[in-house]
Amino acid sequence: MKSAVIVFPGSNCDRDLAVAFEAVSGTKPVMVWHRETELPEGIDLIGVPGGFSYGDYLRSGAMAARSPVMRAVAEAAAKGTYVLGVCNGFQVLTESGLLPGALMRNAGIHFVCRDVALTVENSQSIFTSRYEAGEHITVPVAHHDGNYFADAATLDRLEGEGRVAFRYGESVNGSARDIAGILNDAGNVLGMMPHPERVIEAAHGGTDGRRLFEGLVEGLLERA
């Protein structure tokens, strides 16, 4: 399995995501700088990490979404390459149009940094195959702009098509219908605000994020 992690100026979870990819797959991902116009050959999985790309100036994820490398990511995603966007990565994916909706300032104004309970809504995707639908897991969040917004028709479509991957067990940031993570229509792109890469080892205080990466690696090896 060959993976890549995109590095934007200001990203601060790129190494965490790379460590998670390597811990589960046994291979180091390629770190790809935002100015690159092409991805290395044969990449199966792209990580768009959390952090504060471009300082979150203008809007969270807005400038990163327009960076040269994101054109290559969009092309790869259209061809079926798997893309995981975490936190700022989720913001980048909505800003770039790879996922619908937008992430706005938390309804409660405050930056939220704590463990939250999530419900796994869909266990059919490659990202959630190692979870049971309806299962409750605990994953940390750390964000200021995690309030997911989409119009009612889009929300209905996401729900109807089983594209809500994770939902908060409580209102964390004002997100529409407590949505914490969504899939694209083809099921190969997942964006989520909580940080699964921060709970892959017992020393992190939890391992509920590990199965997301295990499901991905297992699914990718099956497809190979």
Partner: protein, 77 residues
């Protein structure tokens, strides 16, 4: 030539920053502030002859997120 772009949240979209400002104004004793909406002002210094269509494209492609925001362009001078 210069242009100003005003970016505002669409009506109906919750504006937590506006709400915080409203509460702060109330805290200072200003009554009668029914609502506050905060937005962004972006000033562009542009080459002479930049078309309105180009500025509009800048807004749509980067300056505003049209899922949640409206924008208004004002030519200056």
């Amino acid at each position: 030539m210069k242009a100003r772009v005003f970016v505002t949240l669409k009506s109906g979209v919750l504006d937590p920053q506006g709400k915080a400002i409203q509460h702060a104004l109330e805290g200072l004793g200003f009554g009668g502030v029914n609502d506050v909406r905060a937005g962004k002002l972006i000033e562009l210094d542009l080459a002479e002859g930049t078309s309105e269509a180009d500025i509009d494209a800048m807004c749509r492609k980067l300056l505003a997120n049209t899922v949640i925001e409206n924008y208004r362009i004002e030519a200056v001078g």
